[in-house]
Assembly symmetry: C3
């Protein structure tokens, strides 16, 4: 919802007038329940809500929502370098074509705002410190489970994800985890929630923020995705509390 | 498949000539097996088939199919107010961006057909009667299971969905349930089928209609979605029969 | 990624310059890790990688990637008739609208390359031989499980899929299976992996090729889809080995 001009053919933004012409009720819910309600709840900052929303709409390739929410993310304090890095991250966690659909929209917004290379993360940067012990345990466990099933996938997971992408400093690990968990929920990848929600909370996401992420994402990925995630989120919360 | 002119950039309709130029077999299956076969089966009315189809293509953001099937839905007896309400409903059950992708197509069709505000559901209308006992049981069960996990999601589910959206009179509960179940199957949300299929049948969907919904949706969401839903649908049928 | 001109409104291809303007890192990963790395691994031929990629991007409706990868598939030795048949096959295995999104892109590429009807599979062709015993067992098992749940779906599965589509000679069964398995993984349809991966291996896909398919598809469907598939793939491998 915005008055943004078309940024490209695949991502024409809608205006409130457009929405009203099909569903006055949907316009009302958008203004009152969503932008005027959910987004104002204090349990999650507007910047966090933008990270969750952007992750969800890229994970679902909801191109029509991208121009509005990419601009909103920048306005809510997501730096251009961070939005760039979210897209890079989701190439691995939601699919290359999902990231490319986001590139098609973001390039016009970056161009309009004069965001150039100097504001984008470099190809290679000083990596964040790695917790070698935690990563070693992860690699051993995945290797034992699946090393013989798909050695290439297991090796790439170590080399490209946990010893490269996750160490890029353009997005702090807590935000990278928040984006990852949001994409998992939005894509119905419930089997991966346990590992990544635990990692997110180890990286500093609070339980209250994780709970509100579910509240938020229900609107962007649909209630069924949020409800299908609930038992897995509950299990993570309970196991961490009982420790 | 239609000769509809482009309604917008994201939703160019294909003609039979286009399909034939890539796959004569796909044109044949579309004419013979799908439109000339499946759609003619008496187990489900053309109007119901349109509701199922529209729900599936919005749930999957199959924009290329939207112009043809939105027009077909209107021609099959889905009222403009009902199509509008299906889109509003799916904002909650398939994601806001899914509904917005549908708005982008529907606005042109509504404009072409001179469908104005007087034919659309109002923002607020006299709500349908609520079965307080059933809703109370639902709320207690969800609250006990998940109230401590994501209080915001649980509260919104009560306030926005079961005490607001589901009571809107623009779509009768049986049709609203049919759209919901179709979106769940099309999105692979098997964990939510049991609750909503039972609700659909409580709302008047017959077992034969539910069975044929699966037959129909296999074409629009792909066979794997239909087959993954089968055990859950079977379980609902068996439990209701043994009562 | 390509310099292909727009083939249609829904499928504008991106150039490296576009990607760089949003994320220099994503351009790097695309050139080095993906096209210059993954695609060069000997475990799967470029033609097979194209089949897997095309199946994944159609299954996920990643329209922005379609022009580049359809052209690449043709250049990697996928015949026009085979690409046509992949699209036809995925109408049934990923959804009619998914196939139609592919038609919208392929028609321009076929037109540009002068690919006409003589290079496309005919509507009806001499069917491949059917293993009646295997098909009989399949039909009995599915019939016993689900024949009373959705008779139409079960009948269509026999008539349209296993006694028609799968016997079309335009795609050899091994390739048809590879496309099917790739679409299942890309759409998170894990419950269907066991049947179709076994069928794929019966049709000649080696375990090493199946393993590398997972490695490959992680990039196009996202890591979570590949990891959610891993336990199901592992189970198939182990059961076949222990026989």
């Amino acid at each position: 919802m915005s008055d943004l001009h078309r940024t490209n053919a695949a991502a024409e933004s809608l205006t409130y007038v457009d929405v009203r012409s099909v569903s006055p009720a949907l316009e009302y819910y958008t203004e009152e329940s969503l932008l005027g309600g959910l987004w104002k709840r204090p349990e999650l900052s507007p910047r966090d809500r933008s990270l969750v929303t952007v992750a969800a709409i890229i994970a679902r390739i909801q191109t029509v929502e991208m121009p509005f929410h990419f601009v909103r993310a920048l306005d809510n304090g997501v730096k251009p370098a961070e939005l760039s890095e979210v897209i890079t991250h989701l190439a691995f966690y939601a699919g290359w074509g999902n990231a490319m659909a986001a590139v098609a929209v973001a390039k016009s917004i970056f161009h309009q705002r004069g965001i150039g290379k100097d504001q984008l993360p470099p190809v290679k940067d000083k990596p964040l410190p790695l917790n070698e012990e935690v990563e070693k345990q992860r690699a051993i466990q995945v290797g034992n489970n699946f090393g013989a099933v798909s050695p290439g996938l297991v090796q790439n997971t170590t080399d490209l994800l946990f010893r490269d992408l996750w160490l890029r400093p353009a997005l702090v690990p807590r935000d990278r985890s928040l984006v990852t968990v949001s994409a998992l929920i939005a894509n119905g990848q419930t089997a991966q929630i346990s590992f990544h929600l635990n990692r997110a909370m180890d990286n500093g996401l609070t339980q209250a923020q994780a709970a509100e992420t579910l509240t938020h994402i229900a609107f962007y990925a649909g209630w069924p995705c949020a409800f299908s995630a609930l038992p897995f989120v509950k299990d993570v919360f309970e196991r961490r509390t009982s420790h």
